[in-house]
């Protein structure tokens, strides 16, 4: 979607949200507030725009079907340009002006740093764009929710797929030197040992790094069967793949959630063929049967929506469901109770966003599916069945 299109809708939504929060005074049930530090501009804008749209649509669907047990859900976002300080400032601003029940963060760094504050206030649950394994700890981060498998679990799913194709294969992990990128490295090493894969070489690239040829040379030395990328959206993956192919390497390339969006993979050009990714959600164009929510999304938005959209939509659905459970159990709506309500979610039908019924385990939803890019159809198509990591 072009910036102009998006911003028209964003502004409309923001205005609507503003008006709604005024109108809401009329009803007798208190509004529930979903605040968001959303990276609408900046380096992660592609994701931020998608998240924003997904949350908006999910909120709309929820409100149209009677809200959360009669309470209207209101979405209050602020742009952060993917900077932690701006995210924290936005959090401070929104929580000082509203009584927030759910908060959507924009990065691993932000969610980690704001979590103690969220715990201290005890009023809300925190979710966000991050699938960080560190956040997947219910003891250390009791109010955090991850709408999918953690990054370590994602790499685990990819590795299980590798074992099926080629047991004992040689794998290289290439990650960016950021909090996002470093998160699953230790976990990946453990998983590799457990599955009997060779993960000797882990390459870290400087964020915003221009030249990756030295790293490609390291890959050439290692001659791996598979390379897993983590911590990138697009660059420098195509550069790696093109150079490796031109060196004659027969390596297969895979990426985690944020590298698996269809529009991003398409941008890789020729390098995209055979690129594999892992996602806990279906793609926008998924044609499987019995997916009423996917069809609803397609009726609301007629252009391709990214996996960020799916995440925003899904997380909002889950948080609403958790709140619903808490209200039905007669509990007060605070962070601990909403989170308990979310943990009680078992075999929940998402209407096709996730292909199998969803159960929350700890802080995350450990299901996923491996997809592979088909160059002839220019789409990421399923390469495995839905895998549950219980």
């Amino acid at each position: 979607m072009s910036i102009k299109n998006f911003t028209k809708r964003a502004t409309g939504a923001l205005l609507a949200a503003g008006l709604l929060s005024g109108v809401a005074q009329a009803s007798d049930k208190k509004d529930l507030v979903l605040g968001g530090s959303i990276p609408l501009t900046g380096v992660f804008a592609f994701a931020g725009v998608g998240l924003h749209a997904g949350i908006q649509d999910s909120v709309k669907v929820i409100n149209e079907s009677g809200g959360i047990e009669g309470h209207k859900l209101v979405y209050i976002p602020e742009d952060t340009a993917y900077k932690v300080d701006a995210s924290v400032a936005a959090f401070n601003k929104i929580t000082s002006q509203h009584d927030v029940n759910f908060y959507y963060g924009d990065s691993t760094a932000f969610e980690k740093t704001i979590s103690p504050e969220v715990d201290r206030s005890g009023k809300m649950v925190l979710t966000g764009a991050s699938f960080a394994s560190e956040l997947n700890d219910p003891v250390k981060y009791p109010n955090v929710f991850i709408g999918g498998p953690s990054y370590t679990d994602m790499i685990g799913i990819l590795m299980e797929h590798i074992v099926k194709e080629k047991p004992g294969a040689k794998v290289v992990l290439v990650h960016s030197d950021t909090e996002f990128g470093r998160d699953p490295v230790e976990g990946a090493k453990e998983t590799a040992t457990k599955l009997g894969l060779n993960l000797d070489l882990v390459i870290s690239t400087a964020p915003g790094g221009v030249d990756v040829s030295t790293e490609v040379l390291k890959i050439r030395r290692a001659r791996p069967d598979y390379v897993i990328f983590h911590g990138y959206v697009l660059a420098p993956i195509p550069e790696f793949i093109t150079q490796a192919r031109s060196m004659g390497l027969k390596t297969k390339f895979m990426g985690t959630f944020w590298s698996s969006d269809n529009s991003m993979v398409q941008k890789m050009g020729d390098a995209a063929d055979g690129f594999m990714g892992v996602m806990p959600y279906s793609y926008y164009y998924d044609e499987s049967e019995n997916a009423p929510m996917l069809e609803k999304i397609r009726s609301m938005r007629d252009t391709y929506q990214s996996n960020a959209y799916m995440q925003g939509f899904f997380n909002t659905m889950m948080m609403a469901e958790g709140a619903r459970n808490a209200i039905k159990a007669g509990k007060e709506l605070n962070g601990a109770n909403i989170k308990a309500g979310m943990r009680a979610i078992k075999d929940f039908d998402t209407g096709g966003i996730v292909g199998i019924p969803v159960t929350v385990k700890g802080n995350s939803v450990p299901v996923g599916r491996v997809y592979s890019f088909d160059a002839s159809k220019k789409k990421m198509l399923p390469a495995s069945d839905w895998i549950r990591l219980d």
């Binding site: 502004t11 409309g12 900077k83 760094a109 740093t113």
Partner: protein, 347 residues
């Protein structure tokens, strides 16, 4: 109209505030600062705290760059040193926050002296570039000395506590930030009544002549670095207590440029300039946000351009002030004051 002021002795001549009108305004300002948290909302208190922290840091940079003429692009890195020190002390040693701030200031001071050591060998532009190097190296240390700084994840620290009462919300942390900043600004103003301050100004104007006059260059230049870094360290500590979350990305090179811009826009070499510059540069993004809110019903693209427009406005302000008003906001303010002092006469 102010006709003239008669000074009867040197002490009166060197006073910071000479007329009773000035003293009156000062009392009003202090009263306003004290009463602010009781009348302002949460977000306004938040902004006030941010402005005060920036004022503290800008005043420090002003001492180094505005008064001593040593351009430094390392202010944010020194703040980072102070912030990490305070965080480490608060978490590991549990010492009272005032002590932490002072130790944080001294830690930054120590690093500042090391960074300032080349200042006898290199001057001007080269020194500025050396401070950029220091900034990059310190950033590397922040990101990789995981034992102390938590590496790329950074540190999250508990709030400051005063007699067991935790200071968490902006309205509460304000009571640490405001007194410390006011004290530091007064301290800075006072420095320039003493020999040390005059030595700094002499170095700025012509350092070779200053040396001829008997001012030991290396000692005073290092003192200037130490002092300015102390301010930065304390400001960084205040920042730590305010945000309670410190990552290596919290103190990027861009922030050093922000402070240098605040010094330039406010007016180099004047304490009031440092204050005005900090307030101005901190409030500009807020004003932009408000403008976006106002424009959005008419121009739907407004929200998407706010972030880049802020960057452009930042750069444009620096360029504009350097070309048209090199003495900054302080000079504009002085012109306004002079107009009212001399009215109905023309300047």
């Amino acid at each position: 109209m102010r006709i003239g002021t008669v000074k009867e002795n040197y002490i009166a001549d060197a006073a910071l505030f000479d007329t009773s009108v000035q003293k009156g305004w000062l009392v009003a300002l202090l009263a306003g600062l004290v009463l602010l948290p009781f009348f302002a909302g949460q977000y306004a208190s938040y902004l006030a705290c941010l402005v005060l922290i920036n004022i503290a840091s800008t005043t420090g940079l002003n001492i180094l760059t505005g008064f001593t003429g040593l351009v430094s692009l390392g202010q944010a890195a020194f703040m980072g040193v102070g912030a990490y020190t305070v965080a480490w002390l608060e978490m590991k040693a549990g010492t009272p926050f005032l002590l932490n701030l002072i130790i944080g200031g001294f830690a930054a001071s120590f690093i500042g002296i090391i960074v300032g050591l080349p200042s006898l060998r290199v001057k001007g532009l080269y020194l500025a570039i050396a401070t950029i190097a220091a900034s990059v190296i310190l950033h590397f240390v922040f990101a990789n000395w995981t034992a102390v700084t938590g590496g790329v994840s950074g540190v999250t620290m508990p709030a400051a506590s005063l007699f067991g009462y935790e200071l968490v919300e902006p309205k509460q942390v304000y009571w640490i930030i405001m007194p410390v900043t006011v004290l530091m600004v007064f301290g800075a103003a006072n420095i320039f009544r003493t020999r040390i301050g005059r030595a700094f100004i002499a170095i700025r104007d012509r350092d070779i002549s200053a040396e001829v006059l008997g001012i030991r260059l290396l000692r005073y230049k290092l003192l200037s670095f130490a002092l300015s870094s102390f301010y930065a360290g304390v400001a960084g500590g205040l920042w730590a207590y305010f945000f309670r979350v410190i990552t290596p990305e919290s103190f990027p090179l861009m922030m050093s440029i922000f402070f240098l811009a605040a010094v330039i826009v406010g007016g180099m070499g004047s304490i009031l300039g440092g204050i005005l510059g900090a307030i101005f540069m901190t409030m500009v993004p807020e004003v932009l946000k408000m403008m976006v809110g106002v424009l959005t019903p008419f121009w739907s693209d407004a929200i998407a351009v706010m972030s880049p427009v802020r960057i452009i406005v930042f750069g444009a302000l620096i360029i504009f002030f350097l070309i048209f008003e090199p003495d900054g906001l302080a000079e504009i303010w002085r012109n306004i004051r002079r107009y009212f002092h001399l009215w109905p006469f023309k300047t």
